[in-house]
Symmetry: C2
Subunit: 175 residues, 2 copies
């Protein structure tokens, strides 16, 4: 993220969760940039609001308590986006039954792709170990694998010698 | 490499090729460090010697014109190694019939593992697109996947949406 996001950029935290990435992104974009953060869970919005207040970064962030599949309704079509981050799966410390899903995740990814500037980056941390995770991980991987290489460069980072199922990272960069 | 290699370190270029990595490593280890470089091909040793002379870095590098499977005979068992780099496949601009092979590659990797310091790193750039490449790529991947996660962390980086077969990178880090 810090290689791509500069002060003044408009970025998206598609799953604010406990707000760690939101705070980090808000610092990177600075007072002249903006972060739109989405999360369907009240607990996530509350935790992130608190984390942003504590860091005095609330003024450069808009939080939306709704699923990221509604992103296209909230972010103007002509709003250039520099970076978007997805932490898939469930909210750490929250209800493990409430998970991101393939269709809504990919709806949000596509909406961001339409707004992504050249060299803009979508980062997905993909968990496959929880119930429902493997299905989503496969859907996201299939989608990313089939992106036109002339339009997007897709890099996968994964730990390959772990007994348990570690998350992997997908980086989709617009050419 | 630059996150791991510091001045004074002892490192290995297991396939010096045209000398790009050798020069880069020699700069990183500085006058107090050392690089051992291996390549079976005279043309590679010649090109690397020339590149090192040009950069005035020859004094911190020893070049060995032999396959990297002989590494254990040339590097003392008690010599701590901080980093080793393999560019598998054939020499760019050279004879495409002369390629690295699974057995000799893994012999060298194992010899380095025995000398690797904590947080030390083996980096392999693995090409699968040339004749013989897929077999080697599979052997290296199988080997790395089965390394004990308590001893080594193995990270794979790969482009996943390319029509042609791109190289992938394996990073084996000692815990």
């Amino acid at each position: 993220m810090n290689q791509v996001v500069n002060p003044g950029d408009h970025v998206i935290d598609a799953t604010v969760g406990n707000g760690h990435d939101t705070v980090y992104l808000a610092k990177l974009v600075g007072t002249t940039g903006h972060v739109d953060g989405f999360d369907i869970q009240p607990a996530a919005i509350k935790a992130t609001t608190s984390a942003l207040d504590k860091a005095a970064l609330s003024h450069q962030v808009t939080l939306w308590q709704m699923g990221h599949e509604h992103l296209a309704d909230k972010i103007a079509t002509d709003q250039p986006i520099k970076c978007a981050v997805f932490n898939l799966g469930y909210l750490p410390g929250g209800d493990k039954q409430i998970i991101t899903k393939p269709t809504t995740t990919l709806t949000a990814v596509k909406a961001i792709q339409e707004r992504l500037v050249t060299n803009g980056l979508i980062i997905l941390l993909v968990y496959a170990g929880h119930p429902g995770g493997a299905t989503e991980a496969q859907a996201v991987l299939d989608y990313a694998t089939n992106l036109d290489q002339h339009q997007f460069q897709v890099l996968q980072y994964q730990f390959i010698n772990q007994v348990h199922v570690p998350p992997y990272l997908l980086a989709i960069q617009k050419r």
